[in-house]
Each structure stands twice: as structure tokens, then as C-alpha cells.
């Protein structure tokens, strides 16, 4: 009798481990699958609006041929943050089926709100996703346009973050973006920028 129990227990454990590996792997596999640009633009809301605009920008085509894709800027790299973002993204699924932004007109109407969400998220993380690729310590100010170098040197001393100044880097700015940014305290002002 004891022998049977032992066998059962060990089989269960083996099955459990195998199942665990499969499910865990499957989970991560699904996470990876949904972390590609082709997945993002499988929804026309993403493809016809933001993607199309992005193809005219430096993160799509540039002198070095390195691309930044949608998840590079919108999905965190660290596992925990990534899972959180994925759970938040279920909202997108809901709005997709509700057709909240299924026409260009509807999208343009809601765009300001969506942009503010993204700005806030980036501000809160100190533009973490930008910094996955751009490190302020590795910037050669001598090689930058003077206009850029001058602003960067001061801004980094002041602890400002990329999204403070680089709004609209990958998509068109929403109508009335300045008022939206000001209202949410996301606009650099003469006070946050030190005088010359």
C-alpha cells in the first residue's frame, strides 16, 4: 500500500513540475509573443494612426539603422513591470471590442487623453524606457547640435527627464497638447529651466 502512495506522490510531483514548466514557459512565451510590433499593429487602431505616423520618425529609420519598436518605448523590460503593463493593457482589449477609437475621428478625439496617460507614466518612471537605449552619461555633448547640448547639460543637472522636453517624438502631437500638458504639470517652464 505504502508503495502505491509513494509512486502516486512522485508521479504527481513530476507531472506538477512538468506542467509548471510548460505553463510558466507558455506564459512567458505568450508575453514575448505579445511583445512584438506585429502584435501591436494587428489592431487597426494602432496601425492606422500611431504606427503610420511613427514610420516618418527617427525611431523607424535613421542613420545607424537601429530601430525602436512599439514595445521598446511602451513596455517595460523588467519582468515585474512588464506583467503590470500587460495587465493594464487588458483595458486596450476592452476598448478594442467596444470600438472606443475605431475610426480616425474617434481616435483624434481621445488622443489627448491617451497621450497624457503615456506622459504621466513616463514621467513617473523617469523615462525608464527611453533610458534603456539612451544613457545621459554616455551622451557626447560635443557631437550634439549646440541647441541640444546646451539644454541637456542643464536639464540633467536639474534632474529633468526626457519626456519633459521630448513630447511627440514618435507620433503627432494631439490637438491642444500644450494646454493638456500644462494642466497636468508636465510642461517645462522657465522656472524648471535655469537661467543662462
Amino acid at each position: 500500500m505504502q508503495g502505491i502512495w509513494k509512486k502516486l506522490l512522485s508521479t504527481t510531483m513530476v507531472v506538477g513540475v512538468v506542467l509548471g514548466v510548460v505553463l510558466w514557459g507558455g506564459f512567458n512565451w505568450a508575453m514575448e509573443l505579445t511583445n512584438t510590433e506585429s502584435f501591436c499593429i494587428s489592431c487597426h487602431e494602432m496601425k492606422n494612426n500611431v504606427y503610420e505616423e511613427y514610420t516618418n520618425t527617427i525611431h523607424y529609420m535613421n542613420r545607424s539603422g537601429v530601430r525602436a519598436t512599439c514595445p521598446d518605448c511602451h513596455v517595460p523590460k523588467e519582468w515585474v513591470h512588464k506583467v503590470v503593463r500587460k495587465i493594464q493593457a487588458s483595458k486596450e482589449l476592452y476598448h478594442h471590442f467596444m470600438g472606443t477609437i475605431d475610426t480616425r475621428e474617434k481616435f483624434l478625439k481621445k488622443r489627448g487623453e491617451l497621450a497624457v496617460n503615456v506622459w504621466k507614466a513616463m514621467k513617473a518612471t523617469d523615462s525608464r524606457e527611453c533610458r534603456n537605449c539612451h544613457g545621459e552619461t554616455y551622451m557626447d555633448f560635443d557631437k550634439q547640435e549646440e541647441r541640444a547640448a546646451e539644454r541637456h547639460e542643464e536639464a540633467f543637472d536639474k534632474g529633468m527627464t526626457c519626456i519633459d522636453c521630448h513630447k511627440g517624438i514618435a507620433h503627432e502631437l494631439p490637438k491642444g497638447w500644450k494646454e493638456l500638458a500644462k494642466k497636468n504639470g508636465l510642461m517645462p517652464t522657465a522656472e524648471t529651466t535655469p537661467a543662462q
Partner: protein, 143 residues
């Protein structure tokens, strides 16, 4: 007979001369036949010039001294206003849009920027380091 001896070289001179003159006529496109593709132009890059290009005459729309490939102007939005608008120029250390561009010059704001001044590229353009196609003799007028 003597006439022919004299006229012969003269005619040859005339024909030859006009052919020479013809060879000198050259379009900007070069000597290429019409059905051949034109020579590809050399790549030219936008010049970034600290302090701006200055003006050649008082009411000249100043040239843009920086890259503008990131900027976008649509019916609704104008990203030049990120830096040149009355409420942003100080923080961005850029020159403010000329007061002449506003319907209320004493109280300039995005709201009263003239629609006729909305599409900045109509008047302001960046410069590239291209070789001029023809020599330019224009000189600065007195300030």
C-alpha cells in the same frame, strides 16, 4: 575663283564659331540627352548654425539655423511652437516668434497667431551645405 577662296574660310569660320557657341550652351541639367536619367545630386546636409544666419535685409524672414526633420505642421498642431511660442520660448531659450505674426502684437499668444503665418516653411527655410548651381552676386543691403 578668288571669291570662293575668300568666302570659303569665312563661311567655315562662321559655321565653326556658331557650333562652338552652341557647345557652350548648357542647361543646369548638364549635357545629358533627355532620355537618360539625370546625374544624381550630391547629398546635402542641413546646417546647424549657433546664433543664426543673420539677416540680409531688415524685413527678411530669418533662415532656420537648425534641423527641422522632427517638426510637423498640420491643420491643428504646429510643433515649432514647442520652442518659439510666447509661452515656451523662455524655457527653451529660443527667439520668440516675431510680434508681427500675431493679430494682437501687444498680447501675443498661440490663440492669436495669424493663420497666414501658420505654415512657417512658407517663409522660413533651413539651409543645406549644397554647392550653388549658379554664382550668387546678391549682397547684403545696408541695415
Amino acid at each position: 575663283m578668288r571669291k570662293i577662296i575668300v568666302l570659303g574660310p569665312a563661311a567655315a569660320f562662321l559655321v565653326g564659331g556658331s557650333m562652338l557657341a552652341m557647345a557652350e550652351i548648357k542647361s543646369l541639367r548638364g549635357d545629358r540627352p533627355l532620355d537618360a536619367p539625370p546625374e544624381p545630386p550630391k547629398k546635402a546636409r542641413v546646417i546647424s548654425k549657433t546664433g543664426g544666419f543673420g539677416r540680409q535685409w531688415k524685413t527678411q524672414p530669418p533662415l532656420i539655423p537648425h534641423k527641422i526633420d522632427k517638426e510637423r505642421i498640420s491643420l491643428d498642431e504646429n510643433s515649432c511652437l514647442r520652442c518659439h511660442a510666447p509661452d515656451t520660448y523662455k524655457a527653451e531659450k529660443a527667439p520668440m516668434i516675431s510680434k508681427t505674426h500675431f493679430t494682437d502684437p501687444n498680447n501675443p499668444s498661440d490663440a492669436n497667431l495669424m493663420r497666414g503665418r501658420w505654415f512657417c516653411y512658407q517663409c522660413h527655410v533651413p539651409q543645406v551645405n549644397a554647392k550653388p548651381l549658379v554664382e550668387n552676386l546678391f549682397s547684403k543691403t545696408a541695415d
